[in-house]
Structures are given as structure tokens and as C-alpha cells.
Subunit: 400 residues, 2 copies
């Protein structure tokens, strides 16, 4: 089997990868809707892959893997990897999890990091009402994740939240907002945690997405102060999101200081950039995203490396869409026992549920999703239904 | 002063950045000609920068710096940084080196890593003839760098050079070709070194660009075996070029094993990714590229960090073109005493010398270049002369 074309169409806001072969089999991959601009980055790899056998996934990946990098530059390579596995699974007539070593669980646990309504404000009562709403959703999530501090409007809406430079003009989300957190800001965050825990009790667990932008002293103080609330984790305090470096040394200081589990990793590309984080036990939980780390096989390998070091896995997936959900389900079915749950992804638009074929009507039940048993990654896009969402330049996207 | 536009035109094969302001001052930056595809990556940052004051370079960089990464994804951010400094220098009516702390040398040393003719083959006599030709060039380079092993055709043309998988179809240069080097391959490299040193003696120094693709045992054996030839350095044996990770732990093993200086760093983005390489003394020389590391100010900072650790500086610059040369000259004039020399860059086409204004006829004399004393980075493109090289879509590139 040979690759004859690699296409990319932006559907809704998701760049969708479609790899076409000389045997009529095709594979699909999806990029986060927050990276709509990524189409040229995907097509950059077209020429390198044409003529390759997509069912030898690793040989294809050897050609392009080194041309990815920290988020967002691992996404094109990752989505291509998903499409290759989709083909390999279809060619072997098995779900992809069978090609990743086989499943070790029949359902996969998910947490709520993306199903949201607009929060009524940034006060403790707003946070409490927000998680109450989340806990009442039909998916019955075992855990919700909330943004605080630099990962929320709190940094701007709470007066004197921090003593860093206030950025008057918005930029890219990530490392831009940073500063020493004021005592008032610190107490505000603490009040929000208390208010949320009062609502959730120990019925629904709570994790906080915190940054990046903290400095180590604030992070250590906060992680220690919230110890009694048994948070699932504190995420991305020091680096994370779109920060193109890791700083494992600082994370190790933070982790050693507290019983609150420290989490990071969504922006990190490849095992090599996780190496020190894992081997020095610098965090307790890592959250690689299969659509950023370099693909599902890379995520699997890193999960096993983490497992060997008693580090937990909670893969990121916020904006990965429904095909991205298929990739997450397949790989997470195969992860070792350090797997907690993956972040249930949203799609750019509600109509995605109408055009993606292969998902049950109710996807999440009791915070669990069923495996997808169709060959490949188990999902497809209905070309007829999708037609009205295609841009003119992508008219040929679904052609054989 | 406010940025009113950020443009990018591919001229020859170089993506050229032009930042335009409301006061008529503009700045230029240049991307390596090996990254012709980078135009959309540059324009990605346009919206974030419009309205900013380009003379507060750091505030602009805070907005975009985190969206670069390992090579090639640091190049867009870096070229933009050069253009910002170009404006800042013009606005202050000083050469940019004055804004980087001021010069500490009146001329800057360069080495030959890019002025080449096609080598007659891969045998020791071909290598000897090649460096003889290089040593006879009018620039009188104090040092030449030669590609061997995985960084040359040797890996394919010398029978059984290595025992790794032979890649039958070409891919992106970088981490793809790897393998245990055969004894025959090892001896072949050694014969080439001996032949080159016989020609060069101690008149012209020799460095070798080696990979990446070596494994540690081969690298240690080779570095030890060539100790008596006093090579300037062995470059990028383990990682380098387009490898999106560093592996400082392995480099430290190599460095500790030998008196031959070990060099890497051209693909590394930002100080954070140099941190461990420097702080653990993992190499003896680093070679960041101002057009990849995140800009000239970033390179300056990293050079000072390296200096504090007795690590030498030999910045990369092979394909940076003539505007890239201007950036290298300005920053290298300011580097501390650990500066050895920078890699003299080539441009994509010989006609670049006709359209770049501000360079002397003979740029390199006795392996040294003079500083550029015009405001900003000291160089400009002649819009009339450049017109015939502009693509139709870039017709407005030189407009005010």
C-alpha cells in the first residue's frame, strides 16, 4: 500500500488531515480547533510521505517526527500519525488499540476539562455555582477541572491579583502573564477552592489548571496550603500550555515540597522532552496530548516510562474534537495502570456530532466511554453531511 | 512609534521580514534559504505585533517568543526580532551593537562553514583536495569545517559505513540516518581527518560537522582517537541540526570522555533549552544561530551564561544570507571573550551582493569582518535592484 495524497481541510475550526492510498483506504486525523492556522504546517509534510507505505507507521514517522516541536508545532505531525494508524487499523481490519499492544480496559475514564458554560464571574460563589453545574451534567464526570490564577480571568478581574507587569494588549495565551501573586490574590484563590469543595465534597473530584506564569515560591505556598482539600492535581503552574521549554528542575522543587500532586506536560513534544521530568520524578502526573506529543504511539511509550517511575497519566485533549476523541479512546484503552482519565474533548461546533460516524448517541456514561470497535480509529466523517462546511478550496477533500 | 505592518517576501530562497512603522522607519530580518517554506509561519505573528512599539523590543518579544520552538520553528520569531532591533537602532541612530551593551571588539572573526565547491568524492584524497581549496580562498579563513559521517554523503557512498537501517527514500535532513558505525566506516573517517590535517597543518584549523545520528560509544571512541589532531571541535554528533531535543546527559558523557572539544546547539531555541547543556558542562562549545535561537539578544544572553561556565561560543549561520550576516556581526561584536568565531553565511544566490546595500566589496579579510556602522543592523535591500526577484504576490513588499 502506498500513500498517494495527504490533504488538509479546515472544517469548522479543526484542520482535518486525510491521507489517501492507492488501495482506496484512507485515514483521518484531527488538529485542535485552537490551531485553525495549522493547515500549511500539515501540508508541509505532504511530499515527504507520498509513496510511503502508511501501514509501516514508524517508517513514515521517522521521516517527519524530527520536524515537529513543542506546541503548536507537534500537532501537524501528531494528526498525521493518527491518520496513519487509522489506515493501518483499517488495513489489518482491527481497531487501532490492537496495534498498540491491545486493550487493558473495556471502558476508558474521562474527566471534564472542556464542557463549560460561561462562568458568572470570578468570585468564590461564581466558582461554586460553576462546578455545581458541571457536577449536574449528564456525563456524571468523576472529576472537573477549573481554571484559576493565570489560567483564568481572575488575573485581570481580581484587583491587584499579582505584582507582575499587566499586559495591556492581549497576546498568545501562555507564558506572557507572569508575576508574584499578591496575598489578596492568594486568598481569593483559596476562597474559590473552599467554595468549590463545599459544593463537590468527595463526590466529584477537583483539579485546578493554574497557569503557566507562577513563580516557585507562590506555587510551593499554594500547593501546601490546599493540601487538606485533596485536589486531584495542580496543573501547569510553572510551565505548560504553549511554553516551549519544560524546566523540570523547578518542577521537582515544587513536587518535593508538597503532598498535592503536581501535573504538567500538554505542550511537550516527544519522549525526549519528557525524559528528565519523568526520570527525576519532577512531577506526580503528566498530561501529554496525543495530538501534540507526536501521536498515540508516542503517548503510549511515554505512559509506560511514567508508569515505571510511579508517575500518573492524565492526557490532555480539550479541543481535540470528535476524531481526536477516537484517538484518545484507542490509546487510553492500552495504557498501564497509572492511567487516571483523559480530558474529554470538545469540537469546534455542535454540528460535528451530526457528521461524525461511529459514535454512540450518549458518548459518556458515568464518566466512562466505550471503546470504538470499528477498524482503524473507529470514526469517519460523512462526506455528504460535511459538504456544506467545506471551504471552496477544499472541494476535493473527500475524493478517493 | 507603532508597527503598522509586518510583511514577508521570499526573495531568492530567503523569506525576508519587513516591519513597517507609522514613522516611516522600517526594519529587516532574514530567514535561512533552507527554510523557504517559512513565509506563513512569519505572517502568523503579524496581527500580534501591529500597534506595538518596535523600539521596546522585549515587550514585542514577550508576545511572540513562546510561539517559537526548536528549528525550524524559532526562525520566524528570530527574524522578526532582528527586524525589531533594526528599527530600534535606526530610531536611536546607532548600530544595534550599541543597544546590546556595546562592542568589545572592532572586528569579528569568522570561519568557513559554507563557502564550498562540490567535493570530488568522499575519499581521503577528495577531502584533502577540498580543504586545500578552502584554505586558498581569498578570505584566508583561520578555520574550515568539514562534514563527515552522517553529515555527508559518506554514510551512503562508503560501503557498509554503518549498520543502521539504510533509508532508501530521502527525508528531511536530521535525525533520520542513525546507526552503529562499522570499523571500516570508522577508519575511513580517520583517514579523511589525517589527509586533511596533512594539508592544513597548524596553519588552518579544522572542525568536523558529524551528524546527528551517532550513538555514544562510537562518538566517544572517535573523539578519543582524533585527540592528537587537535581539532577545533566535533559538532552535532548526538543531536543537532533539526533534532527537536537536546539530550544533555549523553553529551556530558561524551564531553567528559575526551580532550576533543564537543560542540552543539544550532537547532536549540531559547536559553531555557540551553540551560542544562550549559549548567552541567555537557559540551565545551555551543553554536546557537541568531536566526533560530530567538534572536540576537537571546544569543547574547546565552553567550554570557556559557562564558560563566567556561563554555566557548561559535555561532552557527550557514545559510543566513547577507542580512543574516549583519545580525551576526552586530551581536558577535558584543559577545564576551568565550567567542571563537561565527560561521560565515552564504546567501541563496550570488546576486544578493548586488542588491544588499551597506557591505564592503571584500567582506572577509584575514578571516575577519569589520563592524557595520550604519544605524540599525547596518544593511538594507535596494528596492529597485530587488524588484526583478520579487514574486507577484509580494509586489507591495517595499512600500512605505
Amino acid at each position: 500500500m502506498k500513500i498517494t495524497d495527504l490533504r488538509c481541510a479546515v472544517i469548522g475550526r479543526h484542520p482535518i488531515v486525510r491521507i489517501v492510498t492507492d488501495e482506496g483506504v484512507y485515514g483521518l486525523g484531527e488538529v485542535e480547533f485552537t490551531k485553525t492556522y495549522l493547515k500549511p504546517f500539515v501540508l508541509h509534510f505532504r511530499e515527504a510521505l507520498i509513496g510511503e507505505d502508511p501501514t509501516d507507521v514508524e517508517r513514515c514517522m521517522l521521516k517527519i517526527r524530527q520536524r515537529g516541536s513543542f506546541k503548536p508545532y507537534g500537532a501537524a505531525v501528531s494528526a498525521i500519525e493518527h491518520a496513519l494508524w487509522d489506515i493501518a487499523g483499517k488495513a489489518a481490519n482491527v481497531p487501532v488499540y490492537k496495534l498498540l499492544g491491545g486493550k487493558v480496559r473495556d471502558q476508558v475514564r474521562v474527566y471534564n476539562g472542556s464542557i463549560r458554560r460561561k462562568r458568572t464571574g470570578d468570585k468564590p460563589e461564581d466558582y461554586a455555582a460553576d462546578v455545581k453545574w458541571m457536577a449536574e451534567q449528564p456525563q456524571n464526570f468523576f472529576m472537573v477541572k477549573q481554571g484559576i490564577s493565570f489560567h483564568s480571568n481572575m488575573k485581570d478581574n481580581v484587583e491587584d491579583f499579582h505584582y507582575g507587569v499587566r499586559q495591556t494588549r492581549s497576546g498568545y495565551h501562555g507564558a506572557m502573564d507572569q508575576g508574584q501573586i499578591s496575598e489578596r490574590g492568594f486568598n481569593h484563590m483559596l476562597d474559590c477552592v473552599i467554595a468549590m469543595k463545599e459544593v463537590l465534597g468527595d463526590k466529584v473530584s477537583l483539579a485546578l489548571d493554574c497557569g503557566p506564569g507562577w513563580f516557585l515560591p507562590d506555587a510551593i505556598r499554594f500547593a501546601n496550603t490546599v493540601e487538606k482539600y485533596n485536589l486531584m492535581w495542580l496543573e501547569d503552574m510553572l510551565t505548560g500550555d504553549y511554553v516551549p521549554w519544560v524546566n523540570p528542575q523547578a518542577y521537582r522543587e515544587l513536587t518535593l515540597s508538597t503532598t498535592t500532586p503536581i501535573h504538567t506536560g500538554e505542550q511537550i513534544y516527544l519522549r525526549h522532552n519528557f525524559k528528565e521530568l519523568i526520570e527525576t520524578q519532577a512531577v506526580r502526573i503528566i498530561g501529554p496530548d496525543p495530538a501534540d506529543i507526536g501521536g498515540i504511539a508516542e503517548l503510549k511509550w511515554v505512559a509506560e516510562h511514567a508508569y515505571m517511575h510511579s508517575i500518573m497519566m492524565a492526557p490532555h485533549g480539550t479541543a481535540n474534537g470528535l476524531l481526536g476523541l477516537g484517538a484518545l479512546i484507542n490509546v487510553c484503552a492500552t495504557l498501564p495502570a497509572n492511567f487516571i482519565a483523559f480530558e474529554y474533548p470538545s469540537a469546534s461546533d455542535p454540528w460535528w456530532e451530526d457528521i461524525v460516524i461511529g459514535l454512540p448517541k450518549q458518548i459518556v456514561k458515568n464518566s466512562m466511554v466505550d471503546l470504538l470497535e470499528a477498524p482503524g480509529l473507529g470514526l469517519d466523517i460523512d462526506p455528504v453531511g460535511a459538504k456544506k462546511y467545506l471551504l471552496e478550496e477544499d472541494a476535493g477533500f473527500f475524493e478517493p
